[in-house]
Symmetry: C2
Subunit: 223 residues, 2 copies
DNA sequence: TCAATAGTGTCTGTTAGACATTATGGA
DNA sequence: TCCATAATGTCTAACAGACACTATTGA
């Protein structure tokens, strides 16, 4: 059984590890150390001198056995909600796991992000924050690419975007925008998936390009 | 002199308070408590039971005498860099101050954000994070409006956007997009600024509108 | 052959930016 | 009057979405 956290630890680092399973996103949960009936996000009390980013990476590796293909801090959570540790504050990270190749360590399982088991309120907030972070940085960082294997079809890429955005996208528009962005390179491979014409495989290989200049957006509804 | 932080405090809450002074952004700094020759961001050790948001608000009020018109958490900073307190980690917030009406408390002064005095490395990173946060949520939240007084001209609003974005904007396009967003209401007042035709005053009053549906963007250059 | 999916060409309505023009005050 | 700024109308190129069509496989 995991050792009880020291009373001196006033903050933890928690990881929301996300992968795509079929047509939905999944997060990795482990058995709660104090109550084996319940589940919790992987977390860790940083060693002295350990950076936050390093602690998050270690947390992910301890739970998964491998490092996420992409990690980013979500923020600090601590609005009086309960946490498996006795820490006042938890610094949350979101991490992406490319395929579902990784075999979680003992006691860890993937759960659908839309329908997780009961979590401590603060961890519940972190999961919500993770999906929000992924959506909002979807067009600023290669989130979808980091959730896919090294080679993929354009339909798979579009489905990943649709999964992350929670809405359908227009096929021709999607491919036009993708081509203009110089992000993928076609391979000399095709993949046949049941019936229908086989799809060409691509890999993520961003090339130099001019910064897209967009106009101002006023996308907020209310204060 | 400010009391020395307790050795038990493992994290602080720091506030990056931003206002617009003329043609540049400014941040509020106070004298460092241990070395009066140096400057630092306002910060605070949260009381037990105090939420992070509440601690950030209190930090701002203690330094300014008033609450910011908008606050948001930037994230947790702690990559081994030094901080005026002995905390391992600092949770940073950015706050907006509408005009420069507020008179900072003793020992506090506004500094240009582009050219601040020497800061502790971790606080320097928080200031950079603050401008990045403002830029990236500029089209998701009424940042520019919260930096302006209650009534303003459209030129002032555009100049605020240009200041935050660091680039010039097209006047006609800016006003078209603004009108389509139903965010401002014209007043029955005009203001004459030196020569030229007087400008009509507006106030921020967002109205119901349909969510704008945008296509996918691939705005990142490299991994 | 039909069904299903990949991939592309064309059209159209919307929009961002360029440009020009009018409006209205102060010097 | 001239000049500076506000405010707006028109044109054009770019682009997003709709639609239709071709291409290529398995059943």
């Amino acid at each position: 059984m995991r050792e009880r956290p020291s009373r001196l630890a006033l903050y933890t680092v928690d990881a929301v590890l996300v992968t795509a399973m079929g047509s939905e996103l999944a997060i990795l949960l482990g058995r709660n150390s104090s109550d084996r009936e319940r589940w919790s996000l992987p977390w860790r009390i940083p060693q002295t001198g350990e950076t936050l980013d390093a602690a998050a990476a270690t947390t992910a590796r301890d739970a998964l056995g491998e490092l996420p293909s992409w990690m980013e801090q979500i923020g600090a959570f601590g609005d009086g909600k309960r946490h498996p540790s006795e820490a006042d504050v938890s610094v949350a990270y979101v991490g992406l796991i490319p395929h579902q190749t990784a075999s979680p360590r003992d006691g860890h399982t993937w759960f659908p992000v839309a329908n997780p088991p009961l979590l401590a309120p603060r961890q519940r907030a972190m999961v919500d924050g993770a999906t929000k972070t992924l959506q909002s940085s979807l067009d600023q960082a290669p989130i979808a690419f980091r959730l896919l294997p090294a080679t993929f079809t354009l339909s798979e890429l579009q489905q990943m975007y649709e999964l992350l955005l929670g809405k359908r996208l227009h096929k021709a528009s999607f491919r036009r925008a993708l081509q203009a962005a110089w992000l993928v390179e076609p391979m000399d491979e095709w993949r046949s998936e049941g019936r229908g014409r086989p799809a060409q495989l691509f890999r993520y290989l961003p090339k130099k390009k001019r910064r897209p200049h967009r106009g101002v957006r006023f996308d907020f509804l209310y204060p």
